[in-house]
Symmetry: C2
Subunit: 99 residues, 2 copies
C-alpha cells in the first residue's frame, strides 16, 4: 500500500482525515466539538443510540487521526478538537476543494 511516488503527502493526509470523517457518528462528534469546544463522552452516550464501547472506538479513531484529543479530568475525560490538526485539515480541504 505504498504509492510513494505517485501520490503526494498532501493527498495522503487528506485521505487520512477524510477517512476519519467517513462515519455519521464521527461527523456528529466533530461538529459538536467545533461548536461547543468540548464535551465528555458521557454526554455523547446519553444522546447517541450506541454502546459506550462503540463510541469509545469512534473516539479512538478520531484521536488516532489527530482530529480530537482527550484531557483527563478524573474520573471523566474531556474531549476537544485538536486545533492544530483541525486547522491543517481545514486548510487541506479548502485548498483541495477550491479548484
Amino acid at each position: 500500500m505504498e504509492y510513494e511516488e505517485y501520490i503526494t503527502e498532501r493527498q495522503k493526509r487528506l485521505a487520512r482525515y477524510a477517512k476519519a470523517m467517513g462515519h455519521p457518528i464521527r461527523m456528529y462528534v466533530l461538529e459538536l466539538l467545533s461548536r461547543q469546544s468540548c464535551c465528555y463522552s458521557g454526554d455523547l452516550t446519553e444522546i447517541l443510540p450506541i454502546a459506550k464501547s462503540t463510541l469509545s472506538q469512534h473516539l479512538k479513531e478520531l484521536k488516532e487521526a489527530g482530529l480530537i484529543q482527550g484531557e483527563i479530568q478524573a474520573p471523566r475525560i474531556k474531549y476537544c478538537l485538536n486545533w492544530e490538526n483541525w486547522n491543517e485539515a481545514k486548510e487541506l480541504f479548502k485548498h483541495f476543494m477550491s479548484d
Copy 2:
C-alpha cells in the same frame, strides 16, 4: 445503523462524501479531475501502481458516492467530476469546517 433522530441529513451526506474521499487513490483521482476536467481510466492505470480491476473498483466507489461520472466514448470511458454533487460536497465541507 439508523441514527435518524440524532444525526442530521447534512452530517450523513458529509460522512458519505468523506468516506469516498478516504483513500489515497481516490483522492488522487478527484484531484486530477478537479484540475484537468476529465480523464480515461487507461491514463490512470498507466500512472498508478495498481491493477486495473482495483482502479475500476475505486472509480465505482466514487461514482456511487456521486462524486464522478463516466461517459462512454467507446471503447473507452471518459470520467469527469459530477459537478452538481461536487459542488454540494464543497458547500457542505466549507460550511462544516468554517466554524
